[in-house]
């Protein structure tokens, strides 16, 4: 299983003790950027309905991205798991991750509840 799902790797990443995580994410972004560029440049069509692939831009602004990002980062450093790897850890049989998934769902729900009161 990819080591990016490991709590140890996340801890190490924040300690800048190894290039591993930066290598994985960096190469994903590098090749992903090439693919994304080609999709746009060559106007590649969707494989199912043959409509051109359109990538929606993220909404403008900075408050929600910075504040939300900081909150996410705090949780990431504690749980050592982001929403993708959580599911692979579950499949790998690390059962306590189910608690993390449940509380992350609860956190999402809580955001939905107080959304209108937050700066975006």
């Amino acid at each position: 299983m990819s080591e990016v799902s490991s709590w140890f790797r996340i801890y190490e990443m924040f300690q800048f003790n190894s290039f591993h995580m930066y290598g994985v994410i960096g190469s994903a972004v590098f090749f992903g950027a090439i693919f994304t560029f080609l999709i746009k440049k060559l106007k590649i069509k969707s494989v199912f309905d043959q409509t051109p692939i359109s990538l929606t831009d993220k909404e403008k602004g900075w408050k929600r991205y910075l504040i939300g990002g900081i909150i996410f980062g705090c949780g990431w450093a504690i749980s050592g798991a982001c929403p993708g790897p959580m599911f692979s850890l579950l499949g790998a049989g690390f059962m306590p991750i189910a608690v993390v998934i449940a509380s992350a769902t609860l956190g999402t729900f809580f955001y939905g509840l107080i959304r209108s009161k937050l700066p975006h």
């Binding site: 993220k58 900075w62 993390v100």
Partner: protein, 170 residues
């Protein structure tokens, strides 16, 4: 590998973002009655739940049939730090037993940490409009400034907790 997944999802007219599934789960469980944020056609997001189910199966296959050694080869510096914090299996296992062995279920303090970490991840991801896949991968590859800001936020929060809070937690 991640880039190929990104390409396949874009090619099929989808996007790569895992934390959206948590919103979909809320809607499935009827959260739309409590907040309009969850009133959307969650069935249209079914494909993404299938992706996460695929990730669960992938995790199962990888840990049972592929991985020959589950130890994560973190640097000796990291091992020393973690052993000093009480993570005796640092460098010898995939995930720390302290947090992810079944003993965690009977330790209220560990449960509290898992709940707190998960809650912040879920809340923060939705507030920021994405997580590591939606912002750091999908957003950065499309040169989105908001995603760059979000990733900086991930690191401000992560570095702060990692350096100043974790030493007190364990």
């Amino acid at each position: 590998m991640i880039a190929i997944v990104l390409f396949l999802l874009l090619w099929t007219g989808k996007t790569f973002g895992m934390s959206s599934n948590l919103r979909t789960l809320c809607s499935m469980m009827g959260a739309g009655k409590k907040a309009s944020f969850f009133q959307f056609d969650w069935k249209a997001q079914g494909w993404n739940l299938v992706v996460s189910l695929g990730v669960v199966i992938g995790g199962f296959i990888a840990s049972n049939f592929i991985a020959s050694s589950n130890a994560v080869a973190i640097s000796t510096e990291t091992v020393d730090q973690l052993v000093a914090l009480g993570f005796e299996d640092a460098g010898k296992s995939f995930a720390p037993k302290l947090l992810f062995s079944n003993n965690a279920f009977s330790d209220p303090y560990v449960l509290l940490l898992l709940i707190l970490g998960g809650f912040l991840v879920g809340f923060g991801a939705r507030y920021a409009g994405g997580c590591t896949s939606g912002h750091a991968i999908s957003g950065l590859t499309n040169f989105q400034l908001p995603s760059f800001i979000a990733v900086i936020g991930f690191f401000i929060g992560g570095l702060f907790v990692n350096h100043f809070i974790i030493p007190f937690l364990f």
